[in-house]
């Protein structure tokens, strides 16, 4: 049977084109790869090659024809033993495009979600506690996981012999050796990519960025290579790994070293994002992050490293990713924060209680997945909400929470949600300006007073 040569689509968007020139005529023999025509698209003139072999039986669309629809038969190719007289000239028809069913609407559908449960305590009542810094808690979490899983390793700048730029990995080289505590050159893009590749190859890397500011050099691998591969491979392979390091402003280090990336990473499907405040959460979330079969962004804070908190003394203490913590119960307003923002939130709540305002403080702990249900339930009770974070105000986590509350708790809100954020400026160096650029406890108190009309 004669083969129809169809008007080809020659770009992702082409629907029709001009058949500028035929380079063959009836009776010519063509073979695969021969250029048979020139076709003009809106962008360029393209050469069109034959795919099949045979003799040109007839030219159906003369050269110079404009507006020829893609998939119109433009010529007939005769196979062995056929002659032009054997074949009827078909009417040009466009091949039907495969039908595309409507995409389902994004489900925020609560029906398929398990019933919401109020945040549970992270450890049983009566558990013995010890005082630990966030720094020690992180080291203990990594070490415990490395003892129980040979495939876990830590790589980054100065994690080994230097004992960690911020001393998070202190002592780990001695315990685990240089095979598993790996000093890298200063080359974030490269070693992040190598770590993602190692995760494809069956290992569970922990990548330490000296700070998340430097991870911008590596963000292509974090997003394009780590976060998207599970989806792009139809579930065949993903990147079980942790990217961790200090995030956000430190002190007096200027614009390039002081940025909160919480909202950046929380934007990306395929990543999980956690940002602990307390040492207990740092430990429990780190252990969960290492065990998680997905890439987890673990945002720490330099200022919090030295702070001491109670940590439960348990053999295997973990905190689930995706569950908020009610850090303080209250009835008049909900203050939602995470990471170092919690110190402002807690301080504000303490001061507000002195003036008779009872604030409930929610520590999100995880930004992706985010426990919005705990926030919604709290706002249903308090009818007011203030969010607190150090990041920039545009596209902030607080913006997202505001949107969720409008959709899910609009009728419960007695005041607009206020987002306390860092100011919309690069971080200045001067001490007085730096202080102004960050959010403060006073700003949180002021916001609470606004939403409570007090």
């Amino acid at each position: 049977m004669a083969i129809e040569i169809l008007m080809p689509a020659l770009s992702p968007t082409m629907e029709e084109g001009t058949l500028a020139k035929w380079l063959i005529k009836k009776g010519d023999t063509v073979s695969s790869g021969d250029i048979i025509a020139e076709i003009e698209t809106d962008k360029a003139t393209m050469e069109f090659e034959a795919v099949d072999e045979g003799v040109i039986g007839s030219i159906l669309v003369p050269e110079g024809s404009a507006g020829v629809s893609v998939n119109t038969a433009i010529a007939l190719l005769l196979e062995d033993g056929e002659s032009a007289n054997d074949v009827a000239v078909p009417a040009p028809v466009s091949a039907p495009a495969p039908t595309v069913a409507a995409a389902p609407v994004q489900h925020n559908d609560v029906e398929n979600e398990p019933q919401w449960r109020a945040p549970q305590p992270d450890w049983p009542e009566g558990t013995q506690m010890k005082q630990q810094t966030v720094r020690e808690a992180l080291r203990d979490a990594m070490s415990e996981e490395m003892r129980s899983d040979e495939t876990v390793f830590l790589m980054g700048e100065e994690v080994g012999e230097y004992q960690g730029a911020y001393k998070i990995s202190q002592g780990m080289l001695d315990e685990f050796g240089s095979k598993r505590i790996i000093d890298t050159p200063i080359t974030e893009h490269g070693f992040a990519g190598i770590a993602v590749g190692a995760s494809f190859g069956g290992l569970k890397p922990i990548v330490e960025f000296m700070t998340f500011n430097f991870a911008m050099q590596a963000i292509d691998h974090i997003i394009n290579s780590a976060a998207k591969t599970l989806y792009m491979s139809g579930g065949q392979m993903g990147a079980p790994m942790v990217f961790r390091g200090p995030n956000g402003a430190a002190a007096r280090v200027g614009a390039q070293h002081s940025q909160d990336y919480a909202a950046w990473y929380a934007h990306i499907p395929g990543l999980k994002v956690v940002i602990p405040y307390t040492a207990a959460d740092a430990k429990g979330l780190m252990k969960s992050a290492i065990r998680d079969p997905n890439p987890v962004i673990f945002l720490e804070n330099e200022i919090l490293y030295g702070r001491t908190f109670d940590v439960p003394v348990l053999d295997d203490f973990t905190v689930p990713i995706g569950k908020a913590r009610i850090a303080r119960e209250g009835s008049d307003v909900t203050i939602v924060s995470f990471g170092i923002g919690m110190s402002y939130a807690m301080e504000a709540a303490a001061k507000l209680s002195e003036s008779g305002v009872s604030a409930e403080v929610i520590d999100l702990r995880s930004l992706r997945p985010m426990d919005t249900q705990t926030v919604i339930e709290s706002v249903k009770k308090t009818n007011r909400c203030v969010t607190v974070e150090e990041g920039f105000p545009v596209g902030a986590i607080g913006n997202h929470i505001s949107a969720v509350l409008m959709q899910e708790a609009f009728d419960y809100l007695d005041a607009p949600v206020i987002n306390c954020t860092g100011k919309d400026v690069p971080m200045p160096y001067a001490a007085n300006l730096e202080k102004l650029a960050l959010t403060t406890t006073d700003e949180v108190i002021e916001a609470v007073q606004k939403v409570t009309y007090s």
């Binding site: 090659e49 590749g197 190859g201 989806y231 491979s233 392979m237 395929g270």
Partner: protein, 333 residues
Amino acid sequence: MAARKMTTKPNVSADELLQHYKDMLLIRRFEEKAGQLYGMGLIGGFCHLYIGQEAVVVGLEAAAEEGDKRITSYRDHGHMLACGMDPNGVMAELTGRIDGYSKGKGGSMHMFSKEKHFYGGHGIVAAQVPLGAGLAFADKYQDNGRVTFTYFGDGAANQGQVYETFNMAAIWDLPCIFVIENNQYAMGTSQDRSTSTPDLHTRGEAFGIPGEIVDGMDVMAVKEAGERAVKHCRSGKGPYILEIKTYRYRGHSMSDPAKYRTREEVQKMRDERDPIEQVRDVLLTGKHASEDDLKAIDKEIKKVVNASAEFAKESALPDVSELWTDIYAEAEA
């Protein structure tokens, strides 16, 4: 140089040569069919064909052993067929159907097969280079004796992360073969306009990585170079660079009219250096196969390719529920 003269004197069995011929022809016919389906609107987006470069992957796969890994860029159809992935699954992914290797969610540029140790299929130029070194890192960590073929082009060779990777691969002696498929054009920019020195195989010298230049239109030359590289890596000596000189006949992608080079240049390569025709000539002149034998092979391959196209057309679109799957892996209980 006489037309279609192979640069090496192959000391191989006729069976082996015949197999290479079939493997290369499968890629060529598959790509021609993919180009046709693209023209019919059945394949969308970007589609980068491998026509002309077939000897590279076929030669190197002949040097690989079971369990060795490979990773490449978005011009990946040839690599997948050469490592034994099913043409039906590849073509169905190109048409965005449920029976594709990524259930239709990856497309031409993003395909994977854990079973065949094919780690993609990456759309960001040179991103696969550290990823490939990372696979080699995992192999070394697990001390399993495997090597990884990390393919990239002459365009990618100018990306900074390649040199970050060379440095670490050399420090850590990673069993990684960096295969630079130099087809001489980074999209539309010829190598002499984009690259300060012509030789890419020497780019590892600063890191102490040995490299060699290989005639990529000669499948046996590629295989032999691949064997040297594999031996080097498997013996624990660290990475190795192969700069394989090759040529793509088609545009960078389907929508590239390729006006940056002359039609004569392309035709000359086709006429004088075609990797498939070279092997065909050896088979015929050495009387290892007759015209009829080769015609039968061609017919058989066309059948496979046509069947893959039919399969890819008939396979269903992914169910709409697939939009929401494979975003996160579930923890094992």
